[in-house]
Amino acid sequence: MTWIRKHLIGMAAMLVLTYLLIPNLVVVIFSFNKPNGRYNYEWTRFSTDAWLNPCGPPGLCQSVGLSLQVGLIASLVATVLGTMVAFALGRHRFRGRSATNLLIFMPMATPEVVMGSSLLTLFIAMGIPTGRTTILIAHILFCLSFVVVTVKARVASLDPRLEEAAADLFANALQTFTRVTLPLVAPGIAAGALLAFSLSFDDYIITNFNASPSSITFPMYVWGAAQRGTPVQINVIGTVMFLAALVLVATGQLVSNRRARAAA
């Protein structure tokens, strides 16, 4: 009885974690399925067909390619712009700080349908055709605020004395920035970029408003597939992304652990 009381929180936590991970387990298991019909909903029999032929369904790999391309460009631009804003907010006192903070916060507080549809009304009003460019514009927009918040937290926790010490050692402003400030903020920038990429790669609602039939991203492909029949290959891509994320985060953790040990 006391054992149960002592471990009650731990058990509750494990149950919640299971709830979070069960769909991923289902995705992995069903990537080895060979369904009878067009829908991959019922377990039929084990097969590695989908894994051996991931680009089988027409258009699937093009959509993954477009999503990767959009994700990389959008996260790169959002990270550069967002880091600049984060430095301004974290390092400088200036007029209009609270207005800037509000402007950063508003996109995060706007539901995706609203953001997607308002951008669409702008593109319609301006006569801009939707496609890859409009998708990029939208993705940079919704990634920007998240990058700012991530990097700002890191900039704010930086000890200003380190930069002063660099200056005392006759480093000029540029040297101080590239040799001291930037390496210290780098983990925050990396986290922001990774977050931006995952947001971009995952987005369906905003993208769907600003895409055209010739620019189908991976989430749009999945949505379309859900209406017509789900190819098993979708689960293969989902599994690969899941594993890639685990490997990436684990590597990042190892690197930062080693750095911390080296610094200690």
Binding site: P23, V26, V27, H92, A109, V113, V149
Partner: protein
């Protein structure tokens, strides 16, 4: 993921004054320009679109047609209340489920902390549509979850409180709220974790030394200190959940249509832009007002 973990008030380090007066503005310029051109202007464009009349083929003229807001509310009020209700239920459920997990990760997990953190974040990388489709598989009528729910009369109980119908779990309010809770739970766990990680465990011990029961310690010490995390988590869960329509579309039925689904349909299929814009604008304003009231009540100033 630190973005979510850092949406928390407090820990404000006063930025040092710098020499270059124009430096901050130059740093801000490109980012702010992007936000103004592609966020502020579209919001105005949305408001203006809602007050125009016309059609896709003939073009639109601004006629200050405020009547459309009355029509929109009259016609779609159930969708609005449903969206707010589902989002609020999912947020509450996420809090109840997410709190123990965040507390365990932050205070009890020791060297497993980072492993757990990765496991909370990793599902994000499998597209959320695929994961929601996985819920269809889990809750399907012939699956063992539904079989068990029928055997244990859970389906009857849920049906009795009006959360499901036809003795099944899929295509119901229950499935939609489960899906919403599942999809946005990490957004609750991460800010809570960031907050609870900074909780000084000695305070909990001190409460125990003063003969507080576990429940009293939680109610009088842990919970009040974690409020900023609770506020950040509930906002990050409620706002996207209120506008979501993926869960209601994939897991619900015709009686669970949320307002996001109506907006999407009006914009992209019916092509009735004014009503769609009006609905978007009402949704945005509803959320801004609800969030404003909530934040004021919770007494948190700094959000970002």
């Amino acid at each position: 993921m630190a973005a979510i973990t850092s949406v928390k008030p407090g820990t404000v380090i006063r930025p040092p004054a710098r020499k270059g007066r124009w430096t901050p503005y130059l740093l801000l310029l490109p980012g702010m320009l992007w936000l103004v051109v592609f966020f502020v202007v579209p919001t105005i464009s949305l408001a203006s679109q809602s007050l125009q009349t016309g059609s896709v083929d003939e073009g639109y003229v601004l006629t200050w047609n405020f009547q459309i807001y009355v029509d929109a509310v009259r016609q779609y009020l159930p969708h609005f209340t449903r969206s707010i209700g589902y989002a609020a239920s999912a947020t509450l459920l996420s809090l109840v489920l997410g709190y123990p997990l965040a507390y365990f990760m932050a205070q009890k997990a020791g060297r497993w902390k980072n492993v757990l953190l990765v496991l909370v974040i990793a599902p994000f990388f499998t597209n959320f549509l695929i994961r929601t489709l996985a819920w269809q598989i889990i809750l399907t009528d012939t699956g063992w979850v539904t079989t068990f729910a029928r055997w244990s009369h859970l389906t009857s109980a849920l049906q009795w409180v009006g959360l499901t119908n036809n003795d099944q779990l899929m295509s119901s309010k229950f499935a939609v709220i489960c899906g919403l809770t599942y999809n946005f739970l990490p957004f609750m766990v991460l800010p809570l974790y960031a907050n609870l990680e900074r909780l000084d465990h000695r305070l909990v011990e001190a409460a125990g030394d003063l003969y507080a029961s576990a429940f009293e310690t939680f109610r009088r010490v842990v919970w009040p200190l974690s409020l900023p995390g609770v506020v950040a988590g509930t906002l990050l869960t409620f706002i996207p959940a209120a506008g979501d329509f993926i869960n209601s579309r994939l897991l619900g039925n015709t009686q669970t249509v949320m307002v996001g689904q109506v907006i999407d349909g009006q914009f992209l299929r019916v092509l009735d832009y004014p009503i769609a814009a009006a609905l978007s604008f009402i949704l945005m304003m509803t959320i801004v007002i609800l969030v404003g009231l909530y934040v004021r009540r919770a007494g948190t100033e700094e959000l970002v």
